[in-house]
Symmetry: C2
Subunit: 280 residues, 2 copies
């Protein structure tokens, strides 16, 4: 499969594709591809004529004490997996290509970036919004596909894409889960065997929250507390938050309704995990 | 001349032009066009096949106590002037078109936005960078032309355009001056007759600074003090700053050299004026 390393070459390649009338889709990733990413690539390749996956471990979205250095990297494996799912081109720039000397610009989405994970990871969503804006401008896709598992990220990217008139259709793809319910994540590789056995408690608790809603409970606080209680009873995870927010605006929801997202973050051992369900 | 009011219509129009192989140029303005703007439009129309001028008094670049409400607006006059200079299309959206409900995104250029005028007008350059990023994405020009008179703005826009991979060639156009040397500005209209008579002292002082450099003086602080002293001797203006900075990076310059910009801001009566010269 074609691998492109520079923004200039990527821009030229993408312009040529658009000139031929091809619909280009982009799947931005940090590599360490798993079945979740591959489902995004499959969705993209069904919607578009030409699918680009980017692989870039973006330093600006990691905090100083986070896992940037140990984040898993294996480009040749990623390339083979991406190709098997229908990817036509891998865009894999290095950090100096994306952030050259004198680089100074930050894209910030107000309010939405500061709550939930944003409150715990200062600057994280600025890093995400900025690199996605750059990738959109380099590749200029018609379509970009992101996973619902990173629900706050998705809402922020949708907002930023509309606000900056980026002209990209952002597609929400469903979370892909392991057979026991654990949301797929490159960070699951950090879990010990014992932690891995406990990790499905997060999704079980979210499903319990959903079942309370489906049985008629509308009090968001009560449901969030039930979810938190279940995670803590059924695992040794430390819950950072359980919150109910609008899945598009991320505004707090006190009375549960369709479109509300119950989101949680928890730390299991040394690994931070997130997950969410959207009520229908 | 063609006038377009919505971002959607502008995007479609511009895409059609690019599809025909036409080179599109953009001249972003806040209206109240004077000969300075018209020179930008003339330069754009010489470089491009199709010239768009935007007219948008951008609320986010005005501080709460600034002149947003009284800023001069006369779209039909602007249209006639722009057309006379070679403009093909006026893009004149209203504020709700550019900042719809739930709008939340800010483009911030670190360091460069916080000094000089940025220190005196908090948030001003965030407003500028954000609206220019949006206008670039809506119009998708190949070329955009800005005046050297707003030297800090120009450097910030160049930085942001490169950083966000916007793919627009930013052209620096020379400052256009009245016969007595006053840099053209829509805000000159605020000056009383007496203030207008004093206002050329700013450029005279900058030219004095340049002549000191040309005579061999390299101490930026000495030259800045000489410029400040001359403005204060020859007018009743209150100098906010005189600074020597690199015209591209805006980093402080202590030893004058080609490419250094001597920039000043001063308040004359109730009107804030800025000007600069770039050393060669």
């Amino acid at each position: 499969m074609e691998i492109v390393r520079t923004a200039a070459e990527m821009s030229v390649r993408s312009r040529a594709l658009r000139g031929e009338g091809q619909v280009v889709a982009l799947v931005p990733t940090m590599g360490a591809l798993h079945d979740g990413h591959l489902s995004l690539i499959r969705i993209a390749s069904e919607l578009a004529d030409f699918t680009v996956a980017s692989v870039f471990v973006n330093p600006t979205q990691f905090g100083p004490s986070e896992d940037f250095d140990r984040y898993p990297r294996d480009l040749s494996k990623d390339g083979a997996l991406a190709e098997s799912a229908g990817c036509d081109l891998l865009f894999a720039p290095d950090a100096a290509e994306i952030y050259p000397p004198h680089y100074a610009t930050v894209v910030h989405v107000q309010r939405m970036s500061q709550k939930l994970c944003g409150a715990l990871r200062p600057g994280h969503f600025d890093g995400v919004a900025t690199v996605v804006a750059k990738l959109f401008n380099i590749v200029r896709p018609s379509i970009a596909v992101f996973g619902q598992k990173d629900g706050q990220q998705l809402a922020i990217i949708e907002r930023m894409t509309a606000d900056l008139n980026l002209g990209v259709v952002v597609v929400r793809a469903p979370t892909v889960r392991e057979p026991d319910g654990l949301a797929m994540s490159s960070r699951n590789a950090y879990l010990t065997k014992e932690e891995r056995a406990q990790a499905p408690a997060l999704f079980r608790a979210l499903e319990h929250g959903r079942s309370l809603y489906e049985a008629g409970e509308r009090d968001a606080l009560k449901v969030a507390e039930a979810v938190k209680g279940m995670v803590e009873r059924e695992s040794s995870a430390s819950v950072q938050y359980v919150a109910a927010v609008d899945s598009e605006t991320l505004e707090d929801v006190t009375v549960l309704r369709p479109g509300a997202m119950i989101a949680l973050a928890a730390v299991l051992g040394s690994t931070r995990l997130i997950d969410n369900v959207v009520l229908s």
